[in-house]
């Protein structure tokens, strides 16, 4: 949690002012029993009514002063804690943005969401409490101790026994509940995961009539969460009763030994009252502390989950931020003996070498799971190869900044997903400065112009999350348009036309081929989609088993011939 203090650095002044004000308020509060004792001893016992009234009014004035200090503190607390949470969320979002897919898989999106919301809320609350109470409560305790000492040194021994005892109880409870809090947040993650799954698979669940079973699974996770929470609750439930009993024992001691001293004339009755009041004050402060303990134990658990995110280092990082010079005349993309595999698994692509010249169209064909997507993921450096190197414009992809490398590429992923907003806002992903002309051009090339222009609001039509209000084919075409708006030098289509009918598909490819100087990679299952390519790569079981034109491959690649025959496309 201490490591997160960097997010507080803009609030240092408030962090000091807030608790200071609270402290002043607490000092005023501490004087009240003293004033009370004074009123009793000097006013009541001496029969002085004026003294009672004037000092009574002093108490009121102290209260008003206390209020104004408290307000300053509250304001500082709200500004600081909310500012802290906001900065933390921003930083976390930015950090997550630097993750590659490997890291995202490791933590999981639902867990990231709970960390970003629930955990940060917890920390925010802790910061507010830090300002409002953390200084005040211990101060009240210490202050009460000091006051007790000034009244009677020997009597204060009782305070020095009771206070550490209470602190010890706090420590035990905190120590016991921390592991449970962590466990609790984990269970909450699971509830969140199941929720997300239910929502994304809602249609399938209904189709299979699985609502009840699905609810049973959820209910189990939900119950575990409740049980864990209740278990922590049982530990925390001990806190205030135990501290209460200890403080009452101390009060008994005070009155007894106080009475002894009063009897021999070493102590006044009013002073016993003051001591009892200080003990009560310590108890009240300790109750606050015990609430704080719960909040902070939760915050500690949350902090470690937040730090876990910050500690996760992206596996793919930039070497530079600058734009570097490329080698003129070099191939647009070149693979030299590239191998790559996910995690600790075997190679997903093995020893791949090929070149793609500027302006060429490269087709990639092969069975499901043969490594096609993996191969093209290495071009924009979503992953780094295990062996060999990937060169873009003659320079190793690792040497580029992400902006230069990926900014020159248009990538259309296999799964067509749009973001919520409008069609236009989606298309501006590729190039935020694109004008209507550019947008319309991209829509035309991607064969989406017709259906978009028929929408009542055209390019300003709403897109819901994921693009759910468009059909699969429409989404695919819009994702292609999105990639084209940026005028990419390299366009990568990862089986992006699978939901298109053949006529639309053919028209799309014709338009793409007509763009000068753009290198295009097309992954497809259909021979018809790749047969006109300048070069076709044939993949099988992670290996490149053939490369060449359609004609060449028909002659010398057995697998390619088989694929063609299976699609009735073996004729030239």
């Amino acid at each position: 949690m201490i490591r997160l203090r960097r997010f507080l650095k803009d609030y240092v002044i408030l962090l000091i002012i807030g608790p200071l004000c609270k402290l002043t308020e607490a000092v005023l509060e501490l004087f009240i029993p003293l004033v009370t004792a004074d009123i009793i001893d000097n006013g009541v016992l001496k029969g002085n009514a004026d003294y009672v009234i004037s000092h009574g009014l002093l108490m009121v004035a102290m209260g008003a002063l206390g209020l104004s200090f408290a307000l300053v503190c509250q304001k500082s607390a709200s500004v600081t804690s909310q500012g802290f949470g906001t900065k933390l969320r921003n930083a976390m979002f930015r950090h997550i943005n630097s993750f590659s897919h490997a890291e995202l898989d490791k933590i999981g999106t639902p867990s990231l969401i709970t960390r970003m919301t629930s955990d940060i809320n917890q920390l925010q609350l802790a910061v507010a409490m830090l300002i409002r109470l953390v200084i005040r409560a211990p101060f009240l305790v210490i202050g009460a101790l000091v006051m007790a000492c000034t009244i009677d040194l020997k009597m204060s021994l009782i305070f020095f026994v009771a206070s550490p005892l209470i602190a010890f109880v706090l420590y035990i409870v905190m120590n016991r509940s921390v592991p449970y809090f962590k466990d609790m947040q984990k269970k909450l993650d699971r509830v969140s995961l199941l929720s997300r799954e239910n929502l994304s698979g809602n249609r399938v669940i209904r189709a299979f009539n699985k609502q009840e079973e699905d609810e049973a699974v959820f209910e189990k996770a939900n119950r575990e969460l409740a049980d864990t929470s209740a278990r922590v609750g049982r530990i925390s439930a001990l806190l205030s009763p135990v501290t209460y009993v200890i403080s009452q024992a101390a009060i008994i001691a005070i009155v007894w030994f106080g009475a002894v001293k009063v009897n021999v004339g070493q102590l006044q009755t009013g002073e016993i009252i003051a001591l009892v009041n200080y003990m009560t004050q310590i108890l009240l402060a300790m109750i606050v502390v015990s609430n704080l303990v719960v909040i902070f134990t939760k915050a500690f658990a949350s902090a470690s989950r937040v730090n876990e995110v910050f500690d996760t280092q992206p596996s793919v990082t930039e070497k530079t931020n600058d734009t570097i010079d490329t080698v003129s005349g070099a191939p647009a993309v070149e693979f030299r003996n590239v191998s790559f595999g996910y995690g600790d698994g075997g190679d997903a692509v093995k020893d791949i070498s090929f070149t793609a010249r500027k302006g060429q169209t490269i087709g990639i064909i092969g069975g499901t799971g043969s490594g096609k997507t993996t191969l093209i993921n290495l071009i924009p450096r979503f992953y780094d190869p295990r062996k060999g190197e990937v060169l873009v414009n003659g320079i190793n992809a690792k040497e580029y900044s992400f902006r230069q490398l990926r900014g020159n590429m248009g990538i259309v992923p296999q799964k067509a997903v749009l973001q919520s907003g409008t069609i236009r806002s989606n298309l501006l992903w590729g190039n935020k400065n694109a004008d209507d002309e550019k947008i319309n051009k991209a829509l035309k090339i991607s064969q989406s112009y017709e259906f978009v222009s028929k929408l009542p609001e055209g390019t300003d039509s709403e897109v819901t999350a994921g693009g759910g209000n468009f059909s699969g084919g429409q989404k695919q075409r819009l994702t292609i348009a999105r990639a084209l708006v940026g005028d990419p030098e390299i366009l990568i289509l990862d089986d992006s036309a699978s939901a298109l009918d053949m006529a639309t598909d053919a028209a799309l490819r014709r338009e793409l081929a007509a763009i000068k100087g753009m290198t295009v990679f097309i992954i497809s299952q259909r021979v018809s989609a790749v047969r006109d390519s300048d070069k076709i790569l044939v993949l099988e079981n992670s290996e490149l088993v053939g490369q060449g034109t359609h004609k060449e491959l028909l002659e010398n690649c057995e697998l390619y011939r088989e694929i063609c025959i299976s699609q009735g496309a073996e004729k030239q």
Binding site: S420, Q474, A506
Partner: protein, 587 residues
Amino acid sequence: MKKLKRKPIEEKTLPRLLKYCRPYMGQIAAALIFAVIYVGLNLIAPVLVGYAIDNAIGPGKVDFAAVGSLLLGVGVAAVCSGVFQWLMNMCTNTVVYFTVRDLRRLIYIKWSTVPLSVIDRTPHGDLISRMINDADSVGDGLMQGITQLFSGIVMIVCTLVFMMYISVTIAIAVVIITPLSMFVAAFITKISRKQFLKQSQLQGEISSYVDEYIGQQKLVKAFVYEERSYEDFAEINERLRVCGQKSQWYSSLANPSTRFVNSLVTSAVTILGSLSVLGGSMSVGSIATFITYANQYTKPFNEVTGVIPQIQAAMAGAKRIFEFLDSEDMSEEPESCEENRHLKGNIDIENVSFSYTPAKKLITNFNLHVKAGQRIAIVGPTGCGKTTLINLLMRFYDVNSGTVKIDGKSIYDMSRNDLRSNYGMVLQESWLYNASVRDNIAYGRPDADIDEVKAAARKAHIHHFIERLPDGYDTIITEEGSNLSQGQRQLICIARVMLCNPPMLILDEATSSIDTRTELRVQRAFTEMMKGRTSFVVAHRLSTIKEADIILVMKDGNIIEQGDHLSLMKSRGFYYKLYNSQFAANR
């Protein structure tokens, strides 16, 4: 953010929330009883202390026997009070966590009883935020509310009684001043309520944004969109900050203000008390007791106002939860009936009209008659509305007019589950869940043994893939299924249907990401499975289309032609053009 449809009657949030606590009435009652005992004992202790002090007024005038027995009483009271407070805490715990659990379960169940359109249209992050954040706030608020309010109210009542007993005038003074603090608190609560609701909404917005953008990191990377998504996020976050700061500030005013009022009370007690001692109507010890009481009396007010922020956040969260729980359910449906679970598959679609929004007409006056076992191919340009037809057949959406009958019986006279159990469906986007491959395949028939699962996997030509996975059939599929390729995921979905063996099939571009050689094998298995079963196939492949009994040609959401391949070719309409363009593309 879309507003959810609400039922006309809107209950107040708090009474409604308490209704959900009803199953735990026993614990609540117990908590209340324990609270009374604990508070009562808690109040007796200072009285005894006061008496003890009264027995020690000066040198040589201390009655040790009396002090001793009174202090013993304090000890007993303290221990008992502690025990009952502990018991009260335990009961509260149960009530709170179980109520939150119940709320979460209700939300979850609601997800499968609302019309699918609600799930399709509401951002998922927002729904999840109601489930996670809002329910959490309700829990926090309830916990604070019950413990503080309960003991608070009991404390106030008991203290009042005790004070009356000691001195009526002073007690009345206290009673007159304190409502002031309640008034201040109520006023502050009112201003901050709006901010809290807004804050809760913004939390939902943040969750939606994170859900969407973190979920699509690859895309963000591909478009070097990091900076821009960060800016957007920071913008929402900033709005949350402003609103959060306001709500926190306003609500945190309550506590110092009431404390100020309370310090006024203490001062008043001290002055009045001292004066009455001077007047001879009270003992010195009573003042000590009285001050303790005045403190004790005002403490619950302090505590109650101290937890106002949490309670307000809880109310805002509860309101959003209830808003969702109140959204309209799917229409009533008849009881499930065994007979409806085994239909033959004669389908009659009569005069059906449908559109998602009234503004945009889609299907109008559509008629189709399918005999059991026939194969229907749905073709048309991309985005022509093929998915819509499936939504209607499976009753994910209801028709606007007309009806759909199976075996002569309207599907609106069957339960949805009965209807759907007759369909096997493979959707465009393959959905798998976070469990083993085996569980995923056996999704529709959890009782299937491993051999049946394997047989289905073999039929779907995915068996060998699965065997090669690190844990075979026990391999856990990660959330987004990223350890499997799209094609493999789809094959698992096919195996899932293969295992169920339903009388009717719906295949929605199911083979689009499978390589053609695998597909050939899958096609053969499908053909085998389609025998004797009514099947709707959304397909682009020529062979599937040609072999179909009926081809539905769709364009712009409407069915414009139907018939078999030959008759459609003869009529030289849209299908003819489509066929030729495909043929041209293949050449």
